[in-house]
Amino acid sequence: MVVAGRRKSIAFFIALGAGLILVTLLLYIGWVLLNWRHGILLFLGVILTLVLIGGVVLNTIFLVREIRRNAQHDAFINAVTHELKTPVASIRLYLETLQKRSVEETKRQEFYRIMLDDSDRLLATIEQILRTGRIGHSSRVASSPVDLGSVVEHCLDRARKLHHLEQGSLEYQPGPALTVLGDPDEVGAAVSNLIDNAVKYSGHDVKVKVETSEVDGRFATVRVSDKGPGIPKAELKQIFKRFYRAPGPLATRVKGTGLGLYIVRSVAKRHGGRAWAESDGPGRGSTFVLELPIAPRGLK
């Protein structure tokens, strides 16, 4: 219903823009018919008409963009509401259960484990939101030498615990020892986001591979590959935008805030690196790459 409403208003503003351009052109034709003898007036008319048309086009583009951004913002608020409230609802439900009923010991232990999982999930969402705020506000990044290998290993441990994964589902192929310059916390968050995404989108059968390697002696890369649903070509760049979530049934199956890849890209940029996605298309898995400049030799 909301989506249809938005499409309607986008169509309306585009039609309005086209209509205004048409009116301007008609007025200009009238102007030419009236003043075809006066060269200077004709010239002024052309300039004025072009300015008017340019203004209308700009205005229309701006409006449509704003409507789209609004839509994304609404979707983000919905997603965040869900991501924050669901674990709270679950923790509350189990606490009330323990308070209201006598629960046998094994069940009780299971309930504790579930509540801990939910509080981890809640914390992860909160950290994600806070990090987005921090990244948006300052462009300075604390720089100290960061051992990429140990950051990645730390992230892998965290992911195994968080998603209850076996060793085999999350494989690590370490490359040479690499040191980058930056904020270990941010680099860790970026790598964790890539791993979390790969695990989340894999569904039940998780087969994720993480590799680190060196490119041209100048860059260190972390590649995270999954055998998940893959990404259509048109979405490869879009998915790094803030709040953006690929449309379709996948977005409702896999819960998220639309902040993860935005954080990855922002962290890469702040460190003078890049982040991108590769995929052979839907159903063929995808690979996410984080590329960061290697620290100059003197600083290692």
């Binding site: 219903m1 409230k85 669901t86 609802a89 679950s90 439900l93 009330e96 069940k107 579930i114 199956r253």
Partner: protein
């Protein structure tokens, strides 16, 4: 036992709900998607607990699809969204009740009970209970007036309509003497001065079924000069 269908894709919440509803004595089934809910719902569930944010079809469209198909199972929608427009959308889709997450466990249970109660009332209003059986029981004997049967211990005697009517008339005036004339008027509808000894034949037959010793009756007693009297 009432059957509850829970549609919730967050496994932690779903299991918590299952544990509690089972503890309340309901038969619970959990499904994770809207499509699975549409398929499962026809299996005689009494209440549907429906999450809104589901993979695939969301709760709103599942709800309106069900109502569109004429499936009027009492439904409680459960969702993290609490804007008035979301609540209204839920009711518009056909939900009977709406609860936002996080919810209070006791309130959730009370609302489910409320839905079940209303369903029970509605069912009672649509299919009123059958009228109580038209029978009279005394000792080890019973008279079933609707099937015209007299049960004495293990034995079953079929009655004729007239025998049953005589017996009913006597039972209705239990303990009081009833004259032969009254019986003729009220059971047979005869007002003429007829020979009333026909009635005696009925009594003899009834005594044969009813009394352990027909010559010394305990239930159908003769009242000298008047008629008969029934005692338990």
């Amino acid at each position: 036992m009432s059957k509850v269908l829970v549609v919730e894709d967050e496994s932690h919440l779903a299991e918590g709900l299952r544990f509690n509803l089972e503890a309340e004595g309901y038969d619970v089934r959990v499904v994770e998607t809207g499509e699975a809910a549409l398929e499962a719902v026809s299996n005689g569930f009494d209440v549907l607990v429906l999450d809104v944010m589901l993979p695939g079809k969301d709760g709103f469209s599942v709800m309106s699809e069900l109502r569109g198909k004429g499936q009027f199972i009492p439904t409680l929608m459960l969702t993290a969204r609490n804007h008035p427009e979301d609540v209204l959308k839920g009711f518009e889709a056909g939900a009977d009740d709406y609860l936002t997450k996080p919810f209070d466990l006791n309130i959730l249970i009370a609302r489910i009970r409320g839905l079940l109660r209303r369903k029970a009332w509605l069912t009672a209003a649509v299919n009123p209970a059958p009228p109580p059986k038209d029978r009279f029981v005394f000792g080890d004997k019973s008279v079933e007036f609707d099937t015209l049967q007299l049960r004495v211990g293990e034995n079953v005697f079929p009655l004729t309509l007239m025998e049953a009517n005589v017996l009913r008339y006597l039972i209705e005036h239990e303990g009081k003497p009833v004259s032969r004339k009254n019986m003729l008027e009220n059971v047979w509808g005869l007002h003429e001065d007829t020979d009333t000894r026909a009635i005696d034949n009925f009594i003899v037959r009834l005594r044969r079924y009813l009394e352990n010793d027909p010559s010394r009756p305990k239930h159908l007693l003769t009242v000298r000069g008047v008629g008969y009297r029934f005692v338990k």
